[in-house]
């Protein structure tokens, strides 16, 4: 078991791995979140104005009696006051709501249907990680990866959303709002990042024990860089020439690892956990919980249940030398 303090520290270290701020009304990265932020500010502005107005009226209504000699007294009728209800309760709110409603419908129409996209990613959610499959440009080859999406900047990307187990929700605040991934249902959404950069997000629908640690990162980069990344991702793993890495490959194949994970180009074809073919190139581990560093990788493999209690990754007891060999192998998976 790892002491709690060290683990807390680990979680803090992990923060950079989870990418930038998730403030969806501030600096947004694309047109969808940008429009939503614009509308959001309008709504919040109106909301604030209403709160201020009503609170002001309430304070004024109380304060206007403060000079009267005595509050209370005998009950009396004083005017009918129905104008308050007609104007404040009916006319003004109706006008405000109708205007905002139609604005929101316009926005809905713009955002609901995805424009034609050159990149399509099939995103499958699992407890508690994201499985992504890129449809390559030839339309047939499928390129699997996990937890980190690379997308070309400045163009729409279509996401087909499916889930392997329970309901999750796709959400990259700075790029797009939430769309649920529902069993038995094929949902789709789209994102677009105009500014290259790293956008963090996490599962938006409560999905059990590790809902809090089901992060998804989107890295937007210029088209050329994206294509380079995709080409490299499509390639199978390079077989280690020898040394510790080769021993590690044997450990991976011989121990429980290969039963759950795929490393393309080897015999490991498990489909339960994420594809690890190019693990070393990913910035994070354990669905964004840890930064991908040798120390974190060692911790994660040695005690997954301490790092991410309830995760599907079991604790596989490994002798120290096998662990070291395995680490060397995994770090060679560029």
């Amino acid at each position: 078991m790892i002491p709690a303090r060290r683990l807390g520290l680990l979680l803090l270290v992990a923060a950079p791995g989870c990418a930038g701020p998730r403030n969806y009304l501030g600096a947004t990265g694309g047109p969808i979140a940008g429009k939503l932020a614009g509308f959001g500010w309008v709504v919040l502005g109106v909301a604030l104005a209403v709160v201020v107005a009503v609170t002001g009226l309430l304070v004024a209504a109380i304060a206007r009696h403060r000079h009267e000699p005595e509050a209370g007294g005998e009950p009396r009728r004083r005017g009918r006051g129905l104008g308050w209800i007609h104007w404040g309760g009916m006319i003004i709110p109706t006008v405000i709501l109708v205007l905002l409603f139609f604005q929101s419908l316009g926005l809905l129409e713009q955002l609901a249907a995805a424009p034609r996209a050159r990149v399509t990613i099939r995103l499958t959610s699992h407890r508690w990680w994201w499985d992504a499959t890129y449809l390559a440009q030839d339309g047939r080859t499928l390129i699997p990866t996990a937890n980190v999406l690379h997308i070309p900047a400045g163009e729409p990307v279509r996401l087909e959303l499916e889930t392997a187990d329970v309901i999750h929700s796709f959400w990259i605040p700075a790029l797009a709002g939430k769309t649920d991934l529902v069993p038995g249902q094929h949902n789709a959404t789209w994102i677009q990042a105009d500014t290259p950069g790293t956008y963090g997000g996490q599962c938006g629908e409560y999905c059990g024990q590790q809902h809090a640690n089901m992060m998804l990162t989107v890295i937007a980069e210029p088209r050329a860089e994206y294509e380079r990344w995709l080409a490299a991702e499509a390639a199978p793993a390079v077989e280690p020439a020898g040394g510790a890495a080769a021993e590690g490959a044997a450990v991976f194949a011989g121990r429980a690892c290969a039963g759950c994970h795929t490393i393309r180009g080897t015999m490991a074809r498990g489909r339960v956990g994420p594809d690890l073919t190019h693990l070393a190139r990913r910035p994070t581990l354990a669905a964004g919980l840890l930064a991908n560093s040798p120390a974190n990788l060692a911790t994660w493999i040695a005690a997954p249940q301490a790092v991410k209690p309830g995760a599907q990754m079991p604790h596989v007891p490994l002798p120290a030398d096998e662990l070291q060999a395995l680490l060397a192998y995994l770090q060679s998976l560029q």
Partner: protein
């Protein structure tokens, strides 16, 4: 036989006390059907659950005070947030209002008990035992952990082994029995047990709120029962209702749950809003502005509330067109709330507010209500909701709604009615402290949640990494939560001190207008020695407001020949029969306990126990309990046969008439629910004069007699009241008597009586018509 009781106070009071008092001892404690005791039990139990839910919240707030905190394991956190939600929403928010309503309804209505006293006791025991059932999971370490909303398939056995979600499903089904029974009881009580003269347009707004909430409960709760039953079947019997892999669909749960869930929000706020509507006039010293608007707003909120549930699942991938409908409905429902807010504002503006503690809570409530309302509007816009949903923004919103609109009015109600319940006032000084601590603590705690949400913090996460800008807001939230909890603690201190040594209240410490303040503090077991005849919406203010007819409490039906109260017509509140009420009994508890055993059997999979326990419900009548609860409510006497004694005025058979009595012999009371929604709230005198004349039946006597037997014309009252015009014409005829055709120019206010009009019975003492009593039941009240 008519008995006129001599005008001494003690003789009938002593006799009534002997009839109505709960026996001392264990039998009395377990078997009482006194609505006041049951109401107080509801309140104490609900507040107890609030404290438990609050402690759960505080533990969670410690865990979330900073990023990466390790106080709780994810499992513990998930159990806590689930139990916090279930406890607060199901076991605090609605029952606490049931508590107020149970205690108050017969008092507000001028009745002696609820319509089904044993059903009332039964619903309390079921509530208590359902709570115990749910919390049995605590010692077993298997508390529900899938959220109070429990989305399938996460709740299916595959993903949630263990008893956790069985507890959830069964406890909620168990609780719905209580809520359903309570709702039916409220509706029938309101429809049938109002004091004579208390027409539907004279009931306090709180009763409109509870009526709407009860009607909504009856419609909404089956969806929850079905949802939970299907879940239980999926879990225990391998059905696949929510299993997408085998033909089910998880979205089915979401629809069923929110079809129940959103109306439930209104169920737990409408009575509380009603409390405010009834409180403000007391402290502003004038009747509520726009009573009719607020009453209609209350009912329409309850109805529209059934058309908004999809706004909880805008992100689930539904077609945009169908979502737009629900978005629009969610915006429309703002209007009734805005009407209520501006009615309250106008009442304060036009009145002379006294800054007593209940008023402070009411004023604070208005601010919080508006804040919770506008953030709710923000989530009603579909595209914006895609960002806001499932973030802390929604957590902030729902706490503003539920604490702002439920807890603050409950606090106001506690300060307001504590003297009626105990005879002693709560301390004003501590009350002010409590208000400010709670108000500041609440805003400190829950406002930053909106910011956390806007910064992208999702709900239901047991931890979060530092560095996303969420740390400060969460720390402030935690501090505010503890501050708010301190406010609740102050209430406990205040209650404890004031209960023992508070200022003695007297019958009507606030000089409030409604009938409960005409009783003693605390009220006698029989509530009212004489059932009053109500003349307005504010019976105790009639004199100050210079009403033309004054509700008089020293005259009325005595009903001292057993546990009796008077049954009246649903809309006009005309007396039609004497109802014999059941007395204390152990059967309600026994029935609830056998259900508890039955549900425990379902939980444990001990089918014969489950069968025995739950079969007791339909079998109850043969055991006598059901019959007593459900069937013995109706009069054993024909109303015309047993004439209740009353002080002054003609005997009851002149009030109800033989025809009427005959029609009702041996049958249940007619309850035409649709009549509820007929536009009867306005006084017909507000119609244009031409229209008024049109309403009068052709050939109607110039001065239609007011005595009810003549108003229930051919076809009998039930048939007649199904034709809405009968009442309308009777209504229209009344003002016409004195304002349109009568030769006398003086109004009824001046004491004029039409010569052809016999003295109306209720307010006449010993047959002598009082001048003011020429007024009829239907009258303009504001």
């Amino acid at each position: 036989m008519a008995v006129t009781v001599a005008p001494t106070t003690d003789a009938p009071r002593g006799r009534l006390e002997r009839i109505w008092a709960t026996e001392p001892g264990l039998f009395g404690i377990l078997g009482t059907v006194d609505h006041k005791t049951i109401g107080k039990r509801y309140l104490v139990t609900a507040l107890f659950f609030m404290v438990i839910g609050g402690i759960e919240a505080l533990v969670m707030r410690v865990q979330l005070a900073q990023g990466g905190e390790r106080l709780l394991t994810p499992e513990q956190y998930n159990q806590l947030f689930t139990m916090h939600g279930v406890t607060m929403i199901f076991f605090y928010a609605q029952p606490v209002l049931s508590g107020f309503s149970n205690f108050l309804w017969p008092l507000l209505m001028g009745s002696r008990d609820m319509a089904f006293p044993r059903l009332n006791a039964f619903s309390y025991w079921v509530y208590l035992l359902a709570g115990l059932f749910l919390y049995m999971s605590l010692p077993l370490g298997q508390m529900p952990d899938r959220g109070w909303f429990a989305y399938a398939p996460l709740t299916e056995r595959t993903f949630a082994p263990g008893l956790n979600m069985d507890f959830y499903a069964l406890a909620l089904v168990f609780l719905t029995i209580s809520t359903t029974a309570g709702a039916a009881n409220f509706i029938v009580s309101l429809m049938k047990l109002r004091a004579p003269g208390m027409s539907i347009n004279r009931i306090p707004i709180m009763m409109w709120g509870t009526l709407t909430a009860s009607a909504a409960s009856l419609v909404a709760l089956p969806a929850l029962t079905v949802a939970c039953t299907l879940l239980y079947l999926d879990r225990r019997f391998g059905t696949h209702f929510y299993d997408a892999g085998r033909g089910g669909h998880p979205i089915l749960w979401q629809h069923l749950f929110w079809m129940f869930g959103h109306p439930w929000v209104y169920i737990i706020v409408l009575p509380a809003m009603g409390i405010i509507s009834d409180l403000l006039p007391v402290f502003c010293r004038l009747p509520l502005v726009g009573y009719t608007y607020v009453a209609l707003a209350t009912v329409s909120t309850g109805i529209i509330g059934f058309g908004v549930w999809v706004h909880h699942i805008f992100a689930a991938g539904l077609p945009p067109v169908s979502m737009s409908y629900f978005s629009a409905a969610s915006l429309v429902i703002t209007i009734p709330s805005a009407i209520a807010v501006f009615a309250w504002l106008a009442t304060i503006w036009l009145g002379r507010p006294e800054m007593k503690t209940p008023f402070l809570f009411a004023a604070g409530f208005i601010v919080l209500f508006v804040m919770g309302g506008v953030t709710g509007v923000a989530t009603a816009f579909i595209p914006l909701d895609w960002q806001l949903t499932d973030t802390y923004f929604v957590v902030g919103h729902l706490h503003y709604v539920l604490i702002g609109i439920n807890v603050f009015p409950v606090m106001a109600g506690a300060y307001f009615w504590f003297p009626k319940m105990t005879g002693r006032l709560l301390s004003e000084r501590l009350g002010r402290w409590q208000f400010w601590v709670m108000f500041v603590g609440f805003n400190l705690g829950f406002f930053p949640m909106h910011i956390a949400g806007l910064l992208g913090m999702p709900r239901r996460i047991y931890t979060y990494p530092a560095g996303l800008g969420w740390d400060t807001v969460n720390l402030v939230t935690t501090i505010g939560a503890f501050c708010f909890a301190a406010g609740v603690l102050l209430l406990a201190v205040n209650v404890w001190r004031s209960y023992r040594s508070g200022e003695v209240a007297g019958d009507n410490p606030w000089d409030a207008p409604t009938l409960e303040w005409a009783t003693r503090s605390p009220p006698a077991s029989y509530n009212f020695p004489l059932i009053p005849w109500v003349e307005s919406r504010h019976p105790l203010w009639d004199r100050q407001l210079e009403e033309t007819a004054v509700t008089r409490l020293d005259e009325g039906l005595l009903l001292d020949q057993g546990r009796e109260t008077v049954g009246t017509t649903p809309l006009d509140g005309l007396p039609e029969q004497v109802l014999r009420m059941p007395g204390d009994s152990l059967w309600p508890l026994a029935l609830a306990a056998s259900l508890f055993v039955g549900f425990t059997g379902f939980l444990a999979g001990a089918w014969w126990v489950a069968g025995r326990g739950s079969c007791s419900l339909p079998r109850a009548p043969s055991a006598g309990s059901g019959r007593r609860i459900a069937a013995r409510r109706w009069p054993h006497d024909r109303p015309g046969m047993r004439t209740p004694a009353r002080r002054g005025g003609p005997p009851l058979h002149r009030m109800v008439g033989p025809r009427h009595a005959a029609r009702h012999r041996g049958r249940a009371l007619p309850l035409p629910p649709l009549q509820l929604f007929l536009p009867r709230l306005h006084d017909p005198r507000r119609l244009p004069r031409r229209r008024r004349h049109a309403l009068a039946p052709p050939g109607a006597p110039q001065h239609p007699a007011p005595a009810p037997q003549q108003r229930h014309l051919p076809g009998g009252p039930s048939a007649a009241s199904r034709r809405g015009r009968r009442t309308a014409s009777a209504l229209a005829s009344s003002p016409r008597c004195c304002s349109a055709r009568c030769s006398s120019p003086s109004s009824s206010a001046s004491g004029h009586r039409c010569p052809s009009r016999p003295a109306p019975m209720p307010t006449a003492r010993s047959g002598t018509p009082s001048p003011a009593s020429t007024r009829r039941t239907w009258r303009r009240d504001s």
